[in-house]
Amino acid sequence: MAGYILRRLLAAIPVLAIVAVLVFLMLRLTPGDPAAVIAGDNASSEQIAQVRQKLGLDQSLPAQFAIWIGNLLHGNLGESFFFKKSIGELILGRIEPTLSLAAATMLIAVCVAIPLGVVAAYRHGSWLDRIVMGMSVLGFSVPVFVIGYLLIYVFSITLGWFPVQGYQPLSAGLGGYLHRLVLPAVTLSVVYIALIARMTRASVLEVLNEDYIRTARAKGQVERKILFRHALKNAAVPIVTVVGIGIALLIGGVVVTESVFAIPGLGRLTVDAVLARDYPTIQALILMFSGVYVLINLLIDLTYSLFDPRIRH
């Protein structure tokens, strides 16, 4: 198993290298000059040139790339043009809100969607099944920002249960932290609930026709245990896949949600960095995101073997 993990991690290196080259080139080839942005609207061309030299943007592309990669290999993500801070610090300061939001979202989604999907499969064809499936189509179709503003309108403005916007770090108290996390997490979880519930239903439904389910009944097992002990574990592989893809998509999704709820996370940082043409920050963020994708994929594959001994052996 350790050898397998090592091989997978080694295989990630070329992927990340290609991403690094593409990100670097794409940023350099799109129009717009960070030096001009930083120097300000009234700067003379000499001033801009000075800034450019200070940032190292006057050097040739290969030289710039070599410097960047060299720093990366020493664990140095570089200095942000715009925020005038080390990018490592910048990301570290923004990671808690994003991680909190992603984790809370997935937790809500999995806890709601899997039981819904299992019950829908068990009672398949019933009114309950139809309601769950109908809601899931709705969940897919409504954009995140619409759900967000709708929830804000109902629960914050009308009922006054939750704050409209903002984030409070965990260090300032669990109560306030959770209180501010609920609405954005629920908002973001809607589409994943729809996706995971659907996948759970389909995959449990298939498993319920298997012979070993009949064997379990022949042993006198109760239906609840047949569903959650015999069926769900067999149906797990496609569900895990969707949850994994969900987590990966989530990283993209936080950009919108963090904007709607004014949460200072990585999503907001990405938007700000792009608007400011902050090359080093954008490069570091994209590289980090792709690293996370690779890691999630590895975790998905490892989780398979947790559920299915046939993959383990």
């Binding site: 012979d211 574990k233 001994p309």
Partner: protein
């Protein structure tokens, strides 16, 4: 009719309604029989006879659309049809238990074997974890499974089919149920494994006094194991009685027909075939390699050093158990897979290594009929479209191909108008006829029948075998007949090749191989065939006259 004073199982006048649209309104009707303590009752019948429906209704495991509408099923005097779901659950696994046809799929692949047997104890007893484990290990040992400790921690995919069925039996018998229902428990197993499992069921049942309701379609198995026999046809019991009486002096015409259709184990003497050589293989080999850069390489010889010859008009059988390589050889010859080594001479051309482009014109010369008629025809295309596709690929006009297809449908005993219908509208036997017509439409020289009659009922099997014999003479076909069933091989093959672990261990004229088997493996196969002395079926008329 009651064999013992207080039967374990008493089925009285059972009727189960079928949902509308079927070929009859009741799946079973007026079914009555009993199983006494320590007795094995075999329920025999062809597919659709209602034998499995009867068994499942005893367990209360019928599909929801099937509803018992009359009669009673009494287990130790208690009516299970009127029992509450809770009571039924308490009885299942404890007082009555069931084993199924497919040991490959009847066990949950993601739970350990020990866990799945222990589950029965967790549901029905208050035993502690230690006692449960001890009881399961003792049971695995009683099933003659090697290394019970390791077995306990194994997952189903690590076990062979026979071992899995032993695990199923262990789980079924661990609480000493009064009744064991066995639904075709050996149908999916190799003959030698089947013989062992039948022996095991017999042994357990004698030691524990269990009443056994044994569902089967195989009269060989009946002859081997039954105390009493119940014969079912289209949902009704047509005959029942002690095994010797039903097998030796069947009264009902249906029973007589079924028994008559069982192929005999004594092959007819066939004169040697002297037609032109159609196919010859030399040192044919198929090797699978797994592993690679980071793992130790594993090499499996699926087939090794296979040399065989088939003449026009000759049927050569390859018999062997699963894993013997018989299907691998067939697939190599049809070039569905590429052989690793050796020659495959069709006429004077070696097709073993031809690239696909040059192989294509040769493909029509070799056609295959597969085992499962339910999966080998595309369900979304009409039968006609499936049949004419091949000839049209080789440039035949649609009109000519269709005319040919109509002619072939008549030849295989089906109505030409059926060409416009879809596969699901046909029975298994009819589909196998269609598959044969599809193969014949290509005007092949060599026909490979890969377990082509294995999925069929005996009466249908007999018809399809006769049809094969007929088309062989009509088209002077060379037939390579792959089967695990010695009775079938005895019926149709001129020469026989016995394979074990990828190699040919014996070959010769069929009558010779049966009368004087030289390899130990061949003898083991013949001895393991259930009800060996049984089967007075006539030879196929064509074969006898040939």
């Amino acid at each position: 009719m009651s064999a013992a004073p207080s039967p374990v199982l008493e089925i009285e006048n059972l009727a189960i309604a079928l949902p509308g649209g079927g070929d009859r309104s009741r799946a079973v009707d007026g079914v009555s029989f009993t199983v006494a303590r320590g007795e094995i009752v075999c329920v025999v019948g062809e597919s659709g006879s209602g034998k499995s429906v009867t068994a499942f209704s005893v367990m209360g495991l019928l599909a929801k659309v099937l509803k018992p509408v009359a009669g009673a099923i009494r287990l130790n005097g208690e009516d299970v049809l009127t029992a509450s779901p809770q009571r039924l659950r308490a009885l299942r696994g404890d007082r009555m238990a069931m084993i199924f046809q497919e040991p490959m799929t009847a066990l949950n692949p993601v739970l350990t074997v020990g866990d799945q047997i222990e589950e029965v104890l967790r549901i029905h007893t208050d035993l502690g974890a230690k006692e449960r484990r001890a009881k399961v290990l003792a049971m695995l040992d009683a099933m003659h499974l090697p290394d019970p400790e390791r077995m306990h921690a194994s997952y189903p995919h690590q076990l062979s089919g026979g071992q899995r069925q032993r695990v199923m039996i262990a789980a079924a018998l661990i609480l000493d149920p009064a009744l064991l229902i066995a639904d075709e428990p050996t149908t999916a197993l190799d003959v030698t494994t089947q013989a062992q499992i039948l022996k095991l069921i017999r042994e357990m049942q004698e030691r524990r006094g269990t009443g056994v309701l044994f569902i089967t379609h195989d009269f060989g198995v009946v002859a081997e194991i039954a105390d009493r026999v119940v014969v079912m046809q289209r949902g009704r019991v047509v005959e029942q009685g002690p095994a010797a009486q039903v097998l030796e002096r069947p009264q009902h015409p249906y029973t007589k027909m079924l028994i008559g259709a069982v192929p005999t184990m004594t092959p007819a003497r066939r004169p040697p075939v002297t037609g032109a050589l159609a196919l010859e293989t030399a040192s044919l080999e198929k090797t699978y390699r797994s592993g690679g850069l980071f793992k130790t390489e594993r090499v499996v010889h699926a087939a090794a050093d296979v040399a065989l010859r088939i003449r026009r008009g000759e049927t050569v059988g390859i018999v062997g158990e699963s894993g013997s390589g018989k299907s691998t050889v067939a697939r190599c010859i049809a070039r569905l897979i590429a052989p690793s080594r050796g020659q495959i001479m069709v006429g004077d051309r070696d097709i073993a290594r031809l690239p696909e482009r040059r192989l294509r014109p040769m493909r029509r010369k070799i056609q295959v009929v597969f085992q499962d008629p339910f999966r080998s025809l595309n369900p979304r295309r009409t039968v006609g479209a499936s049949i004419i596709e091949g000839p049209m690929n080789f440039g035949t006009s649609p009109e000519a191909a269709t005319a040919k297809a109509r002619e072939l449908m008549g030849l295989v005993g089906l109505d030409p108008s059926a060409l416009a219908r879809y596969p699901h509208q046909f029975s298994g036997g009819q589909r196998q006829r269609i598959a044969l017509a599809r193969a014949l439409a290509m005007e092949p020289e060599i026909l490979i029948a890969d377990e082509a009659v294995s999925a069929l009922d005996v009466s249908v099997q007999r018809q399809v075998l006769a049809l094969l014999d007929d088309v062989q003479r009509r088209f002077d076909l060379a037939i390579l007949f792959i089967t695990h069933d010695l009775r079938v091989a005895a019926q149709i093959c001129d020469r026989l090749i016995v394979m074990q672990r990828g190699r040919i261990v014996e070959e010769g004229p069929t009558a010779e191989v049966f009368a004087r088997p030289s390899a130990a493996y061949t003898r083991a196969l013949i001895e393991a065939a259930p009800g060996r002395e049984f089967g007075r079926g006539e030879h196929l008329p064509e074969a006898a006259s040939a």
